[in-house]
């Protein structure tokens, strides 16, 4: 069970208001799409949730607890670029999170423990379709494969929330389609919440269970920076209904068999 709550959060940069009065309750296993025009503060929204930046006012809670003031394992992230480590092989990129958890001092594992972690990482890599590329370096992978790797790498520490910052923005349409499938499936398999920032409306609506749009609704020509963006619409998306009906269908089938 993971719930996320924004309690009237606002963010200013040196007097410039970017976000104001963002309040949001997110139930367990939601897929939240965040859309809005460029510069509206979508990425700021994500950075706040990641603790890459701190809100000026208000607070953010996960499962009722304030989030840590720095990035931590409960919130995984995939950026548009630079999310994987270029100097590590595909396999090492994925084992990293586990190795760090088990070897605080050396940061790397040896022997049997290493074998176990590698097996776990290989399962994840197979799942995202990178099983045959385990020994390659990221620069030998295509953009889509790098993003698959970034997702597998984030998933190995089993975050409560996965944050995606324009994750498919740099991909061609075909690759983007297959990434959509993968992300949807991973979201259904792992009981986790996903928050995805995108400028692509159709992407947001086809993947998300809930879509929020943020934008500036008030503008003072005398003082253009006085007002920030707010949540201007909050929509339950189709896939939520699809998911609910699938669940109901599964239950009905089970009952029929029993």
């Amino acid at each position: 069970m993971t719930t996320i709550a924004f309690k009237s959060v606002s963010k200013e940069y040196g007097g410039v208001r970017v976000l104001e009065d963002i309040s949001l309750e997110l139930a367990d296993h939601e897929f939240l799409g965040v859309v809005g025009p460029s510069g509206a503060g979508k990425s700021t929204f994500l950075r706040l949730l990641l603790s890459q930046e701190q809100p000026t006012h208000g607070k953010i809670l996960i499962d009722g607890q304030p989030i840590a003031p720095e990035p931590s394992q409960d919130r995984g992230v995939v950026f548009q670029r630079y999310s994987v480590f270029p100097h590590l092989s595909v396999l090492r990129n994925v084992t990293l999170g586990r190795e760090w958890a088990k070897a605080p001092l050396t940061g790397r594992l040896r022997g049997q423990e290493r074998g176990e972690v590698e097996a776990e990482a290989m399962r994840l890599l197979e799942r995202v379709g990178l099983g045959s590329s385990a020994d390659k370096f990221p620069h030998q992978l295509s953009g889509g494969m790098q993003q698959r790797l970034a997702i597998a790498q984030a998933l190995i520490v089993r975050p409560k929330v996965l944050l995606l910052d324009e994750p498919f923005g740099a991909l061609d349409p075909h690759t983007r389609k297959s990434m959509h499938h993968l992300v949807r499936e991973l979201w259904e398999e792992n009981q986790m919440t996903i928050v995805m920032v995108t400028h692509d409306l159709s992407e947001a609506f086809s993947l998300s269970t809930r879509v929020i749009a943020i934008d500036k609704i008030r503008y003072d020509p005398q003082d253009p920076t006085a007002y920030g963006s707010r949540i201007v619409s909050d929509i339950e998306a189709k896939s939520k209904i699809v998911r609910e009906s699938r669940k109901a269908e599964a239950v009905r089938m089970l009952e029929a068999v029993a």
């Binding site: 919130r75 950026f79 999310s83 990293l96 001092l105 984030a154």
Partner: protein, 272 residues
Amino acid sequence: MKRVINYSPGRGPGLFLAILPFLLIGFVYLTASEARLAVNPADKLMPSFSSFGAALARMALKVDPLSGQYLFWTDTYVSLLRLFSSLLISTVIGLVLGIVIGFIPYVKAGFSALVAVISLIPPLAILPILFILFGLGEPAKLILMVIGVAPYIVRAVALTVGELPKEQMIKAQTLGGSSWQMILRIVLPQVMPRLIDMLRLSLGPAWLYLIAAEAISSEGGLGYRIFLVRRYLAMDVILPYVAWITLLAFLMDVALVATQRRCYPWYNPKEG
């Protein structure tokens, strides 16, 4: 007619063009040397290639009666030992200080201005201070070379660390990495290939300070020998020594490039 920038030589002609200037310089030297020797067979300024060979043979193949050593090889050994130890010390200082300055904001606030100022001190200007403090022995020479090279490496490493994408560091934190683990597995490995580039650029200054230190105070070494035989106008020794130093520096550069290619296959600045 295509534009001149669109003509490029193939492999063979390219190699020929690369060698050509060397041949030309050799030819010009040879002609000038012969002309001078024809006028005055005792001329010392431009010795013939055969007297280079004789001088080299004397230095490298015969034991020096005074010291009982093969001077050429002893000089090379002594100089390389100084060069390598100073580069090693500079590298260790550069890596440790550079990484903590580049990675930890509080250390950066405290040290980066100091390092910037130190790197502006002309090392040769404080050579007298070093001689006063440490005497004329090896420590003063090593410290001169380290002062000449280390601040550059510290600053370059710190800059390199600062230029690693911020996204990587955020990602590393979400994977649970501590500051120490991130230094160990994210920062240091990515600094290493760039450190090799820095070392390549440091070779020039390192040799400069080595020869300066040896010229002023030493009992051996390539720089010492050059400045010693200068008193006898022994161009037949000086020029081969200069060529030898150049060759050594060139070989080190080649070795560093090869190490970088072999050990860090992922590091390819071209693909950025």
